[in-house]
Symmetry: C2
């Protein structure tokens, strides 16, 4: 028997939990303090920028992220309120929304990415 697989499972989970808690907490604080961004907002911006195309549909975005549809809807609403993205009608399918990053949003994301990488470097060192 290979050293109690049950215990290993729980240990692996605890490791993930510990890592996630520490990093997400630090990230949340750093992004908030330095840029006024929550982690979900940054993550959404990040996915939009990563995709080569300028515009992203809400549902494509939701599929990439761990957020529920409603949470994403509100996160994008906050980003729009802060002028970092715009929500445009999609002519082909009028139910869909194109989320487009603004110039301000692009700048903000570039700055925030620096913060993110600094925090990650610190915690994964």
């Amino acid at each position: 028997m290979a050293a109690t697989p049950e215990t290993n499972l729980v240990e692996r989970w605890r490791d993930v939990l510990t890592c996630y808690s520490a990093v997400s907490c630090a990230l949340e604080r750093a992004l908030q303090d330095a840029h006024g961004l929550g982690m979900s907002e940054f993550e959404a911006l990040d996915r939009i920028v990563d995709a080569q195309c300028e515009k992203r549909r809400m549902n494509e975005l939701a599929a990439d992220m761990y957020l529920s549809q409603s949470a994403l809807s509100r996160a994008v609403a906050r980003l729009e309120r802060d002028g970092l993205v715009s929500r445009d009608m999609c002519a082909e399918d009028r139910r869909s929304i194109f989320v487009r990053i603004t110039d301000t949003g692009r700048d903000k994301h570039a700055q925030a990415r620096e913060t993110q990488r600094a925090v990650l470097a610190e915690h994964f060192a």
Copy 2:
């Protein structure tokens, strides 16, 4: 140069994020559906049972967990409301609270642990 360390950092973080999201979501749902327990409640019970001693002070418990002090306070309040733990005065330091697991709580935890391990086994397979 060893394959862009920056990108590796972000990838590592995304892996943690993906894993945490999937598992915590599944765990939350499974525990809630099968036992009416949230993940934080289960985690708190788990820490109490894991500690060899019957009683745990709130602050010791908080130190073990990723929760804030206030969140823990309310999680324990929910556990007490459901009859799974009791909060007793501590004679030595009357600010402190002893959290003690009840028989009902012990049973519930034993059952919930089965669910937890099943979910973990499924996701870490």
